[in-house]
């Protein structure tokens, strides 16, 4: 049984779910594994010695060690599978036995083999601390199962995997600092932006000796200067939207003549025109325009009786 226990420990070490993933680390986990592997090598060497070998090539040693490790791993895996097949979580001795039987190993020979006289006693593997599973960040209380979940069910994962933890910095509540910050931030952005523009484009300078001081972006005449001067900039419109979105409606619909309709709606009390609510039906549109009897909205006539008049002109 002690051999078995020993094997067990080996199994467990190998099947530990985290062991594979921590290869890259140079932490205690790695040391632990190296130690195991060395022990396994010692075991292989002693077995070889027992068989009468005096020396072995390193490659052969490694192969054998690998085979040994594979074998043990397979035993462990199968034992675990058998155990879980019977809805348990910890393998028992019989699981291992079944496994060994399954793998074609005569179990009965095992006690004899274990008690053989020439067997070498291997020193216990150096006691290295079992790898400390890096503790997940403890966030909040680990929840226990509610009553309707049997206790053998797996425990809840660490809270941090499912608990929403809002992160926020302590707000700067001092008004002065806020304003100060906003002001200097804006100024910095503006300065950086204008400097950039000045550096990348044409400039004018106020000083002849130092052109780079106080660079002014060159004034470029535009073809339709009144547009940019009269229309509110997008930024301003955006600001307006934020402050008062209801007023914005008027400003954005620049569609066509039918947009008069929207204004008419507001001033419906002023006039007798009854307008269809909501969306504009194409047929209804013509009606509206007729109702607003304005000569500029009337359709342009086709040149029918124009011949006479043309004669007059030429």
């Amino acid at each position: 049984p002690s051999g078995l226990a020993y094997l067990n420990t080996i199994f467990l070490a190998i099947i530990c779910p985290r062991s594979g993933s921590s290869k890259t680390s140079t932490s205690p986990t790695e040391n632990y594994q190296l130690a195991r592997r060395r022990t396994l090598q010692v075991v292989v060497s002693s077995l070889l010695t027992e068989c009468g070998f005096e020396s072995a090539e390193k490659a052969a040693m490694e192969t054998l060690t690998e085979m040994m490790q594979s074998y043990i791993t397979e035993v462990g895996r199968c034992a675990k599978a058998t155990c879980e097949h019977t809805a348990r979580s910890t393998p028992t001795l019989s699981d291992v036995v079944i496994t060994l039987v399954e793998m074609g190993f005569n179990v009965d020979t095992l006690p004899v083999y274990a008690k053989r006289s020439q067997r070498m006693v291997i020193t216990a593997p150096p006691i290295t601390n079992a790898p400390v599973v890096p503790k997940a960040l403890i966030a909040g209380q680990k929840r226990t199962h509610p009553t309707y979940i049997p206790s053998h069910f797996p425990e809840f994962p660490d809270p941090h995997t499912y608990i929403k933890t809002p992160t926020f910095r302590e707000p700067v509540s001092d008004y002065q600092v806020v304003r100060e910050k906003a002001a200097s931030q804006r100024r910095d952005v503006e300065r950086a932006l204008t400097r950039f523009m000045a550096k990348t484009g044409e400039t004018e300078s106020l000083f002849k000796d130092d052109i780079s001081a106080f660079p002014l972006i060159a004034a470029k005449p535009s073809t339709i200067p009144y547009l940019s001067a009269l229309l509110p900039s997008e930024l301003e419109l955006q600001t307006l939207e934020e402050t008062d979105s209801s007023e914005q409606d008027d400003q954005t619909d620049t569609e066509n003549n039918s947009s008069n309709v929207s204004q008419d709606d507001q001033s419906a009390d002023k006039e007798n025109v009854v307008l269809p609510p909501g969306g504009v039906v194409p047929t209804g549109k013509a009606n509206e325009e007729n109702m607003i009897d304005n000569p500029y909205l009337r359709p342009v006539k086709k040149p029918k009786g124009r011949r006479k008049k043309l004669k007059l002109i030429y």
Partner: protein
């Protein structure tokens, strides 16, 4: 005058126009070639037998064909004498001469006198028809090729179709300028109905007067024809046109009103027009009359000539009046413009005027009802403030420039009787007026209307208007045959008659004082309190001798606020009474605790400790209702002004008190002003004014001032955060009053100065902090004006740099404060490129700031930056600001190249408004004046300016008058001092004349093509000067007296060269005796028709014989000094030589008679003819302006 007193209106033309068709079809591409082809057809009724000539105005149009009733008519296209005012290349360069020639030229084509430059000969077959007074149709085909006036094309230089480029065209002009875009009778008094047709690209809209009857595609479907009918008789100057790819907005409140704007601006148009219906309602209500036209159109165009122009049933506005809902400052301005335009629809467009001298009635009424609108919309405070502002403006102008005459009468039609001799231009015609004068004219007109209202009550006033309108609308619906249309013309006499009919009051004295006479009244008031008699002894003196003033006799209201209440007294201002005793009602300080009743019935507690214990007088106001056009300088103690400021509820009184307090820098004044500033019931404009006064007082009190800088703590309290007083609150402009105050206070504060005469560091940092912490994110309104004013504040804080050894300004030796300021300005200016502000207000302020930095020597003075901003393609406000800076640079640095650059711009800039502004800004801030010597003042400049006003500006009356103004500012009335004396050149002329004159006369016999004019004008004009002026002299029979008067008032601009002639012989004689060696001078004396300066020069030489005549510098100086003073020496000289003058005059006369007998004949003939409204096409031709007189057929007879 006589004519006007007649009941009906007599047309100066031998026919009456009833209907006109204007058809402009865009055969060539309208926009690509900027050309127009079309025809007009005028339906006329001859009013005389044998109508053989029809005169029309058609400046600069090319006439292809004329038909009268389908018969080919002959037309002679008289050269428009206004194209080139003085035809010859004489060395004559004095303004007196120019002004008279220009006036004559304008008269020569004045439609109000029946003249015109297009003369059509009626085919003889139709003469008989004329007997039967049958209708005639005059059909004229014409074209305009890239017209400089009349129509303005705006074609942005980008890719895409014309519609995509927002290309548009609109008509414009100063007064009656329709002749520039189609042949017509360009008079406000010739009404007719209209049919207008415009064929334009299918993507365009043509907006014009009257009702749009239909829009029809042309056959290729690529163009549309807009047919307009205007059934209401309308004068040609009230016809207009605008074509462009306009966006159309039907007014949501009034469907017959349509608004047009350029692409992409529709949202702004909606916002801007959202209150137009209120204005409509207001006018219709007060006038109890419907809007006279069946529709109304507003068109917003770019590069507008003026901000607002009104035409029959439509108005053209500058597109820059459009604004979004976020803009505060522009909103009232735009509203005012709309209200003005609409007021002119009633009076100006619908009701037109009989003659130019009746213009004041129309301008007065429209200005007056516009004022009523202001009162209703913006409140009584705003209204009274506006009235005071207007009154101050007109008073300032008249005192500076001389009187403004509303109703000039020209008896006999001779220029001799110049009613405004103090002016350097004639007021006979709207086209000879300086723009500034015309603005003041309008201002005075509406103020006088208000005076009439004061006299007859507003109710009667509105009844009169209603009567005028209802008469006109009855007349407008009549057919022409009923002869009612003249009811639509208003005349001064008709208007006054209506007033007396409606009100039964005689307003004759008032009219005589303010309408028939120019000038304002200047009062000086002071008082003493007689304790024994308990009487206020008030002394009111007048200054009626200085220019622009007149004497006032009549009632004047004086309001005295005593302890017991406010009392009105009406005093009579008489010839010799200066002192007035006004009994007081209250004994001095009877009851300390009692509240003091104010004028409006309010009772208030006052701290009376400041006042004189012996006197019950709190304050006194003279003419509080502004019922006289006056300036009052009243003396009362500082505490009285302070009481007036604090407790008088009238904003005008408060403003008067504030300006009076400027000279009382005491703590009490400071307190009074601060209190007003803090009172939010007080009218915001008063508070704004208080800010600036406080800054001035603080500067005067510098040494004794305690506490923080003026207004700082106040600003902090009102606009900064409670917790951190150095940080301004985030912007919230919902309360407009405090918005305006918040804007103004930093600007006023920046004017503060410390002991070193620098802006206090504390103030500068304060302003920099305001800029730094400015935060508009939560604001409903745009802060562009606020930021602009913060930059203005920085500008105000600048003081001259301390210059050491005149070192060159470099970055390194920049003052640290200035560096901070410059950094802000740079950042603002650069940000503006990325996020432009509304109307680029920030750029404008930055440019001003940079100029100020240059001027104060902080940074090197350099115009190149401004010149780049002044280019075409920047927003107009920016250009104006940049040009202003260039002009300032030109003056300070005396740069001739910049001056040249500016003048080139005047000639070549595409925008009329810019050209006008350059000239008027140059006149306001001239590079030099006649009083000082300058290197800039040279012959080339004189020539250039002369050419500009002589011929370079013929397409734009306003620009020409601007040029005249500038010329006057730079050189004065007389010959510019920098010109060499006109000696040798004239001798040559003399010879040339003799050689050439006769042949040219002979060549005149044919109908005369224009090419003859140009060749002859050069030599012949010298002669005409004699010819024209002599009848004027002999006719009025004032040779000796006139001469004397002239000598005594050398500035008086009776500027006939002929008159000058008479003085010459005397000069010559004397010169001869004293300088017998100067042969050359003697020779040319015979023919010198030159400036008075020349005479002055000679007279001066007589006065100081030791001065050799060849030393130009001293002579120039002498000449300069001459016109300025009424020179006793000169008058003495002239009286002593009077006899000689007289003699020479006769001699001269004879000489002329002998030489040009035929001419004399013609002259006299002309005199007669002009009386009988001559039918001769060349009646005007012997004006000095025209080079054609000699060619006239009558001469060769």
């Amino acid at each position: 005058m006589n004519r006007k007193k007649d009941k009906g209106f007599e047309s100066p033309r031998p026919y009456k126009l009833t209907h006109q068709v204007v058809c402009i079809n865009n055969i060539k591409s309208f926009f690509r070639d900027k050309s127009v082809i079309g025809y007009v057809e005028l339906t006329i009724f001859p009013t005389v037998m044998n109508l053989n000539r029809i005169k029309l105005e058609a400046s600069s149009a090319r006439i292809y064909r004329v038909r009268v009733n389908d018969l080919e008519g002959l037309h002679s296209f008289t050269n428009d004498p206004t194209l080139e005012v003085c035809h010859h290349e004489s060395k004559q360069r004095n303004l007196n001469y120019f002004s008279s020639a220009y006036t004559a030229a304008v008269s020569a084509v004045d439609p109000d006198a029946g003249n015109g430059e297009l003369s059509i000969k009626v085919p003889s077959e139709l003469w008989k028809q004329g007997d039967e007074m049958k209708v005639m149709k005059v059909y004229i085909e014409f074209s305009l090729d890239q017209p400089k006036g009349g129509l303005h094309f705006v074609v942005p230089d980008v890719d895409g179709s014309m519609a995509e480029r927002a290309a548009h065209v609109f008509s414009f002009g100063n007064q009656n300028s329709t002749r520039f875009w189609f042949p017509c009778v360009d008079s406000y008094s010739e009404l007719c109905t209209w049919k207008l047709e415009f064929t334009v690209d299918a993507s365009m809209v043509a907006v014009s007067c009257g009702d749009l009857v239909e829009t029809v595609y042309t056959h290729d479907m690529r163009k549309k024809t807009f047919h307009y009918m205007l059934p209401i008789p309308t004068a040609a100057p009230n016809i207009s046109l605008a074509v462009g790819p306009f966006e159309i907005l039907v007014d949501p409140y009034m469907h017959e009103v349509t608004h047009f704007c350029l692409p992409q601006l529709l949202p702004l148009l909606k916002q801007t027009m959202s209150y137009l219906h209120e204005i409509f309602e207001f006018y219709e209500e007060i006038l109890t009359c419907r809007y006279p036209y069946s529709c109304f159109k507003t068109v917003f165009v770019d590069e507008a000539y003026v901000q607002v122009s009104s035409y029959a049933s439509m108005s053209i506005f500058s597109t820059n009046l459009l604004h979004s809902g976020m803009i505060i400052d522009q909103t009232p301005v735009t509203r005012r413009c709309l209200a003005q335009a609409l007021a002119q629809q009633f009076f100006g467009c619908f009701i037109s005027r009989m003659s130019w001298s009746d213009e004041w009635v129309l301008k007065g009424i429209s200005g007056y009802i516009y004022g009523l609108y202001l009162k209703k919309t913006f409140g009584v405070n705003e209204y009274r403030h506006w009235i005071k502002e207007e009154l101050d403006k007109i008073v300032e102008y008249e005192l500076k420039m001389g009187g403004v005459l509303l109703h000039p009468t020209f008896s006999g039609g001779k220029e001799k009787d110049n009613p405004t001799p103090h002016l350097h231009f004639s007021i006979r015609h709207p086209h000879t007026l300086s723009w500034e004068y015309y603005k003041m004219f309008q201002c005075k007109a509406h103020l006088v209307m208000r005076l009439i209202e004061n006299r007859i009550s507003m109710e009667f006033m509105l009844q009169v208007f209603n009567k005028l309108l209802s008469l006109a609308s009855t007349a407008s619906s009549q057919k022409y045959q009923s002869h009612m249309w003249s009811q639509m013309l208003v005349s001064t006499s008709g208007f006054l008659k209506s007033i007396s009919n409606v009100s039964g009051k005689d307003i004759g004295p008032l009219i005589k004082q303010w309408v028939d006479q120019s000038g304002v009244v200047k009062f000086f008031g002071s008082f003493a309190f007689n304790r024994k008699r308990n009487v206020l002894e008030l002394e009111i003196r007048q200054d009626y001798t200085s220019s622009g003033t007149q004497k006032y006799v009549g009632p004047i209201k004086v309001t005295v606020q005593e302890l017991d209440g406010s009392f009105n007294h009406t005093l009579q201002i008489e010839e010799n009474s200066l002192k007035h005793d006004i009994p007081c009602h209250s004994k001095s300080r009877r009851n300390k605790k009692k509240k003091i009743p104010l004028m409006n019935g309010e009772e208030v507690d006052m701290d009376l400790s400041a006042m004189d214990a012996d006197s019950p007088l709190l304050w006194i106001r003279i003419d509080p209702d502004m019922s006289i056009l006056r300036k009052v300088e009243f003396e009362q103690a500082d505490f009285m002004w302070q009481y007036q400021l604090r407790f008088e509820r009238d904003v005008v009184a408060q403003e008067e008190a504030i300006s009076a307090l400027e000279i009382f820098p005491t703590p009490a004044s400071r307190l009074a002003l601060t209190d007003i500033l803090e009172q939010d019931q007080c009218f915001y404009k008063v508070r704004i004014q208080a800010c600036f006064c406080l800054a001035k007082i603080a500067n005067s009190m510098m040494s004794t001032w305690t506490g923080p800088p003026a207004m700082k703590s106040l600003f902090t309290r009102m606009f900064c955060c409670k917790s951190c007083p150095n940080i301004v609150k985030t912007n919230n402009f919902i309360n407009f009053q405090s918005y305006f105050l918040q804007k103004t206070m930093p600007v006023a504060m920046a004017l503060l100065r410390d002991v070193q005469n620098l802006c206090p560091k504390e103030v500068l940092n304060f302003i920099l902090d305001l800029i730094k912490y400015n935060d508009n994110r939560k604001n409903k309104f745009s802060d562009n004006y606020y930021r602009a004013e913060l930059i203005d504040a920085l500008t105000n804080s600048l003081t001259p740099a301390i210059s050491i050894n005149n070192e060159v300004r470099t970055v390194d030796n920049l003052n640290t404060d200035v560096r901070l300021i410059l950094e802000e300005i740079t950042r603002f200016l650069n940000m503006e490129k990325l996020l432009p502000s509304y109307r680029n207000t920030i750029t404008v302020s930055c440019l001003r700031a940079i100029r100020m930095l240059q001027k104060n020597g902080h940074i090197p003075s350099d115009p190149s930056l401004f010149k780049s901003y002044a280019q075409y393609g920047h927003f107009v406000d920016v250009r104006i600001a940049a040009l202003e800076a260039v002009i300032d640079y030109t003056r300070v640095d005396r740069s001739s190249s910049e001056l040249q650059w500016l003048l080139d711009l005047v000639q070549n800039d595409p925008v009329h408004y810019i050209r006008h502004e350059i000239l008027s800004m140059l006149a306001k801030n001239p590079p030099f004046t006649k009083a000082a010597d300058s290197l800039l003042c040279n012959e080339a400049l004189v020539d250039q300016l002369w050419k500009l006003m002589n011929s370079g500006t013929c397409h734009d009356w306003r620009l020409r008058c601007d040029a005249v103004n500038l010329y006057y500012t730079l050189f004065g009335l007389t010959r510019p001092s920098c010109l060499p004396l006109p000696e040798l050149g004239l001798v040559l002329n003399l010879k040339e004349k003799k050689a050439v004159l006769n042949p040219t006369i002979k060549s005149e016999q044919g109908p005369g093509g224009p090419e003859v004019t140009t060749t002859m004008a050069f030599t012949s004009t010298l002669e005409e000067e004699h010819v024209v002026m002599e009848p004027a002299l002999s006719g009025v029979a004032m040779a000796p007296q006139g001469l004397k008067r002239k000598a005594e008032t050398p500035l008086g601009s009776s500027p006939e060269p002929g008159q000058v002639m008479q003085e010459e012989p005397s000069a010559k004689a004397s010169v001869k005796s004293k300088f017998p060696t100067q042969e050359e001078e003697d020779i040319d004396m015979d023919t010198v028709h030159d400036s008075q300066a020349f005479i002055y020069h000679h007279l001066n030489m007589l006065e100081r014989p030791s001065t050799p005549g060849k030393e130009p510098s001293s002579v120039e100086q002498a000449m300069l000094s001459m016109p300025g003073t009424p020179m006793p020496t000169l008058s003495k000289e002239s009286t002593s030589s009077k006899h000689g003058d007289h003699h020479h005059h006769h001699h001269h006369h004879e000489h002329k008679k002998k030489k040009k007998k035929h001419k004399h004949k013609h002259k006299h003939k002309h005199k007669h003819e002009s009386k009988d409204k001559d039918r001769d096409s060349h009646a005007f031709s012997n004006s000095p302006a025209s080079g054609r007189s000699i060619r006239s057929p009558s001469l060769s007879d």
